[in-house]
Symmetry: C2
Subunit: 300 residues, 2 copies
């Protein structure tokens, strides 16, 4: 991708961040963007995100060497069908979805004979839309590529090189394993955060205004990810149902055990558990996936 | 407290932050500190946190106008007994515990005839110990005061003025209501975070190193509060058992409903729920209890 043609289909947070990162780090690449929403296309034009914005998805991918689908995972199959008429035979088709086994199967079914290399940059914020993206979103973050066993080695390397050029670190794994890893590190945390924010806002004993007022005691940490895009997350849970439900069951078992310890007044069990979880936090900071600044880097 | 004598018993994150905030904002106040740990006292001396560090708790509170107990809630009764011989008749005794009904009762039982005004500054970080404190910790945060119905109005006003002088906003409420509000906004979020971090670190299918590596997908947001002081939190859950278990039951009901929606493929229910929770986040940011910066204010 030192020089070449990139098409981005879907210009929300991730798609627009790719466009910005390419402009900053791969100035030789010509970027064409498309979004199903006319409003988003107009916003992308006024932001100057891409070299061209195409109104037609098939036109957007004509001559592209690399096509990245950055739409909710439930819309990947539709997006693939829409671009099919414009795709060149050698184009690499990739995506950014948070679940990979289902998306890979959908893309292969929609685009038989094409070079399909699914990928997932593990990065994001709770904000949505083309204005929310930024060029440094992928810096220091992992991008997981999940090729089929018989995928072209050259195509995988090319996609890996593209993400590395945007500042990401690249890992390759089996799609099923990806889906289990992300169920734990991303999908279950989002489900839990969505649940607790909803629970807190509907209690009779405590008003919503009290919940907001005293959120600095811990609650606010959950609200960030519970503000993420509702459609994107609806699709993730439906697409990665089995892995999400499996990890949720494990979570429920552990929560029941801690609940029992509280009810029984078993302070030793609580203290042991809470001591163990401290070490995980330390490792995350050491590996640069978070910041140790007091109060989470927030300024008041 | 324009001029006066303050005693702080317990020099961890909160106690040492009070000492620092008093030095910065109430330079006329003389501060004496004590901690049960000789190691912490030595660290407090070398940090120069207080005007005096007393080795004996009763000596620490002699002549104090205001005594603040900043120890884990399970140690409040012991700390009260230890300071009792040194307390003046007019001293106001307060605390900073995360649960209030039990702490208030324990202090009243340990110090009959004394002026006891429990309080809870809703502020903190995941770090512990005297070196972790900082002078601005309470700025813009709420301090909840939970006096008994027959408490001295003058003493309540004096304590409120003290916390306002440190930059906090003050609210007064009934201890039982405080405990329900904090169960929702602080205790349940900590319990959930502790649980999921433990769950994620013990799955067979996903290694701990993978959990850490891909934590930017949402998991890392939970690890911050799951790194909080284990003894402090053990005591909070034991002291506020009833309110925590009541809110946990509501959370479990909601989680089961969302689990069922995922299993059944009910995307409408998921999307509705996730849309509602977005609004809560917006209100928290509007009220200055969190920061809207992309990627949560983290730098990489």
């Amino acid at each position: 991708m030192d020089a070449g043609r990139l098409a981005i289909v879907g210009l929300g947070l991730i798609g627009s961040s790719i466009a910005r990162a390419v402009r900053a780090r791969l100035p030789g690449v010509v970027v064409t963007g498309h979004d199903a929403s006319a409003e988003v296309r107009a916003e992308a034009r006024s932001l100057g995100l891409c070299d061209h914005i195409a109104d037609d998805p098939a036109m957007a991918v004509t001559d592209a060497d690399l096509v990245i689908l950055a739409v909710p995972v439930g819309r990947m199959a539709d997006a693939a069908h829409m671009i099919a008429p414009g795709l060149g035979a050698d184009a690499i088709i990739s995506d950014v979805g948070s679940s990979k086994a289902g998306v890979g199967a959908a893309l292969r079914a929609a685009l038989p004979g094409h070079v399909i290399i699914p990928a997932h940059p593990v990065a994001g914020t709770e904000n949505s839309g083309p204005a929310a993206g930024f060029a440094t979103l992928f810096e220091g973050r992992w991008c997981i590529i999940t090729p089929e066993a018989d995928a072209s080695r050259g195509a995988v390397d090319r996609l890996a090189g593209f993400w590395q050029a945007l500042g990401a670190r690249v890992e390759t794994m089996d799609a099923a394993h990806h889906d289990m890893v992300l169920a734990v590190t991303s999908h279950l945390p989002h489900l839990i955060a969505y649940t607790i924010v909803g629970t807190a806002s509907e209690l009779e004993e405590v008003t919503e205004s009290e919940v907001i007022k005293y959120s600095a005691g811990g609650f606010r940490d959950f609200t960030r990810i519970a503000a993420s895009d509702p459609v994107m997350w609806r699709d993730v849970f439906l697409a990665n149902k089995d892995a999400v439900l499996a990890t949720l069951q494990r979570f429920n078992e552990d929560l029941t055990a801690l609940q029992q310890a509280i009810r029984r007044g078993d302070g030793g069990k609580l203290e042991d558990w809470f001591t163990r979880t401290r070490a995980i936090r330390r490792s995350i900071i050491e590996q640069g996936q978070d910041d140790a600044a007091p109060d989470f880097g927030r300024k008041h």
